[in-house]
Symmetry: C2
Subunit: 199 residues, 2 copies
DNA sequence: TAATTTTGTCTAACGGTGTTAAATTATTTA
DNA sequence: TAAATAATTTAACACCGTTAGACAAAATTA
């Protein structure tokens, strides 16, 4: 026979076609533009057909998430395998992670829930009312710098913000991490950065 | 007359009613459940009425974002004013930021684009393929620990991830930061954490 | 006070979304 | 060739943001 398998292969093929079409649309127009009807149009079918292959839109998103994780994993392994010491491996891997986030921006957004809606709040609010305006003052004080726009101040602010925001994001999307560990990370990181301000 | 002002006050009142209704819906059902029709229902009007007060849905979201920033600013100032030294001020402010993120989770999600869709990829993927599985190995090596579930390993992994993910998120939502500064922060932070593994 | 203008509000509709049930067409099996 | 099965589409539902036009209430003017 073998025709059973040919058909199975064909079905598997349209299944990846759906995923590829979805990925293309997202790369071209962003996540909020992705719709079942658009995917259908791209693979030259009608929308309900997709439900023969995926339970619903979320199923497609889940599949893409999985692909994203696998791709990220590969990139990190590649980076790791270029070095021998754990120190170098760690640095290379996190750099690979960083590069993945921007080279495969759409995957990253899906995997870790980074939206793009918010924008330029500074134009709507006086700087003294923003976290930046508030937090940079003691940073400047500690560093002995007067200009709030000094790159060194800016860098340190973003270092603080990154770790806090990163930790917050991770905890919001994947609720369940131990509070104890979070406090530990938060405190360690803040103290570490603060210490680095004075040298 | 004064009636002009009374009417103006009334209009201003329904304007905040709209915002409050929106905020309530989001607190009850999450961002993805927020719709113009639901807001209208809550304030006992019809949906098109809202457009007399806000240009569109995004206008409402923007107003809420602004409110969120102001609230966060206040909390940080409150925390700061409890201390005198910049060191203590910084720690208190970032802790206030942290608390705000969870006490006013909806605001935080809107302000910094943290979605909630993605979840528990570990159940779908073998751990060796995940960033966690890959990155913890050299961490364990450096720390001289064998158990991959040891809390100390976990803590360090999340410290790395937080700073990288935070920095990535910030750069994706607010594109325009200098690459030079980013590399600097990234490298500094990674090296700093790696150094802390060995002590 | 009566007529007119302005304001506030609603109804109805458009084009879009995810999703489902039923009808239809194409393919395989007997 | 006829019957059964599979693949695909059409039509519809309930929702969404948004707009235009109708309508009634209020304020203003004559």
């Amino acid at each position: 026979m073998g025709s059973k398998e040919r058909i199975h292969r064909l079905k598997e093929n349209t299944k990846v076609n759906i995923i590829n079409a979805a990925h293309e649309i997202v790369k071209e127009e962003g996540w909020q533009a992705l719709s079942m009807r658009k995917i259908a149009e791209k693979i030259e079918y009608t929308a309900p057909m997709i439900y023969e292959y995926y339970a619903n839109k979320e199923g497609i998103l889940l599949e893409l998430t999985k692909k994203g994780y696998l791709l990220l994993g590969e990139k990190m392994k590649e980076a790791r395998d270029k070095y021998d010491t754990p120190e170098e491996q760690l640095e290379a891997m996190w750099l690979a992670y960083w590069n993945f986030a921007f080279e495969e921006k759409e995957y990253y957004q899906l995997m870790f829930g980074v939206q793009v809606n918010c924008c330029m709040i500074e134009d709507l609010l006086p700087i003294e009312s923003t976290p930046y305006g508030i937090a940079t003052k003691p940073i400047m004080q500690l560093m002995g710098i007067d200009d709030p726009e000094d790159d060194r101040v800016c860098t340190k602010y973003y270092t603080y913000w990154s770790i806090v925001h990163g930790l917050v994001s991770i905890n919001i999307v994947r609720k369940g991490a131990s509070d104890e560990i979070n406090r530990q990370i938060l405190k360690d990181a803040i103290i570490g950065i603060t210490r680095s301000l004075k040298s």
